[in-house]
Subunit: 314 residues, 2 copies
């Protein structure tokens, strides 16, 4: 049986890690890269991981201006800030009948892509992974690797676990990655925001890791406040989270290795922050259903200021 083919757009930590796992499990994988393209062609892709290191050679690499042949699944794993420019690549890589998996953080990111992808199934995915690209063509995987997958519906309503969702989850599980099917993608997106809204933003504004934030009473209380605003907004938006979601997340965070969220890495490296998907879209969704998120709004304003100055300097 021929395994389903994948095109990975964006060979950062997320795209690189999961693409490597799928390739190691026998899936044909095509790589759409930017700055790393030549390096990947010449030296392949390396992954260091507590699950075992990987090195892949003879990659099918597509650089700027090159179009990969259609794959069964196209995974968009760039930063959301690149989505507008990546949309054309996704359209070219995804033939009608393909599935497109938007493996990114934030709210409202599938809809603009779905509009330019008639006839393709649009899925959303979220990775729960501690990993970073530590050199060209090399991913350092530190901890966790679960992925949740759900199918996009134009109105944001729950699609249930569709065959397309199940197929991707099966591929992930077959590659040794804990995959979980979501019957309500938007609920999953809100749920991840319960963590991302406080920890991504505060790590940048306060220049602090998760451990420092958890250890200071006022910071922890602010984390709870921000999480509470996301939970209330999600419920008002029709996608309620489990009652204990905040306690469960804080408990898990307390047990985590101290960790700098991806937004902190973006900030320190002078990249634009994913503020539209992680802050502006949730705030807009909350406002549409009449819910104010004042602490989140405060953090968003601070991040907007810091992001603008950071980009002006870099």
């Amino acid at each position: 049986v021929t395994k389903r083919s994948y095109t990975i757009i964006g060979v950062g930590a997320v795209g690189g890690y999961y693409g490597a796992r799928l390739a190691a499990a026998g899936h044909p994988v095509r790589w759409v890269a930017r700055s790393d393209a030549d390096h990947l062609r010449t030296h392949g892709l390396g992954v260091s991981s507590p699950r075992g290191d990987l090195h892949l050679d003879d990659l099918e690499v597509f650089g700027p201006g090159q179009t990969p042949p259609p794959s069964d699944v196209v995974v968009l794993a760039t930063k959301t800030t690149a989505n507008a420019s990546a949309a054309a690549q996704v359209v070219e890589a995804a033939r009608p009948g393909s599935a497109v998996l938007v493996l990114q953080n934030g709210l409202g990111i599938e809809a603009p892509l779905a509009e330019v992808l008639p006839g393709r199934t649009v899925l959303g995915g979220m990775s729960f992974i501690c990993a970073g690209k530590d050199a060209p063509g090399h991913i350092a995987h530190l901890d966790y690797e679960a992925v949740t997958v759900g199918e996009h519906r134009p109105g944001g309503e729950a699609a249930g676990v569709t065959p397309a969702v199940q197929a991707v989850v099966d591929d992930l599980v077959g590659a040794g990655v804990p995959g979980e099917a979501l019957d309500d993608l938007v609920a999953g997106r809100w749920r991840k925001l319960v963590w991302n809204v406080p920890f991504n933003g505060l790590s940048v504004v306060l220049d602090a890791g998760t451990d420092e934030l958890m250890a200071h009473p006022a910071a922890l209380e602010l984390v709870r406040t921000l999480m509470g605003e996301v939970v209330v907004a999600a419920a008002a938006d029709g996608h309620p989270a489990p009652d204990d979601v905040i306690d469960v997340m804080l408990d898990r965070t307390a047990k985590m290795t101290p960790y700098a969220p991806s937004m902190k890495h973006d900030f320190d490296d002078g990249r634009p922050l994913e503020l539209p998907a992680i802050y502006a879209a949730p705030l807009a969704a909350a406002a549409r259903v009449g819910v104010a998120m004042p602490a989140t709004s405060t953090l968003f304003a601070e991040l907007s200021f810091l992001d603008a100055r950071n980009r002006a300097r870099s």
Copy 2:
């Protein structure tokens, strides 16, 4: 006519500047200093100012453990974070019949002093000045110098312009300082917080001057939100501000020389931040009258975290 005597406790920018102006106008002035005491005795006090430089020699300086003779007016011009330890000095320097002028920022700072000062008149004052201590025994005055003065009442109610208030204002005006009598001290304190709450805190959290904050739309909108919370809390607390207070302040700030508020200097120099008087007390006062200040609470939590880390490092 003998001019009224003053004891200045805390020879920083504020105490040093106004004490020097009063001394130059012929008032006997006693100086209670800590680290600068020896320097002031040996080299005197210098002030550079667009209004004309000053140099005062042969100062009556009282260092740690030394008690000045009673003066007509005792001016407490330390940071509010030093008030608990300065209270004993104030009691010793202020005989019954003296007035004590608490020349500091924030809310609720007169009450604990008034409790240990029976028989003395307790006044509150606020300085609107751009000045800094740029060397031991030297104050650099840059711009502005107005002072408002009102009399404390235990319940926070308006005292009207009392003789004690008018006397201090007259002394200031006689020394060339624009003094203004407040009939409602607490209203004056709230009104100054309308500026201090946004600009002190955001200058620390965002490492930004007033000009940068005014120039960025999201930061300016957050400044307006924070100011609005203070205005609403002040009104609910029974001390409403004029309707146009926010626009007037923003207009004035836009025309100001770019400026780092005192809290930013405290932070950069590793001193404790005046969070109890400028954030905790207003938040508590608002909570007592059932008003939430969510953006202010967010900023306060962030500042609490940064202050704790800053003090642990310094």
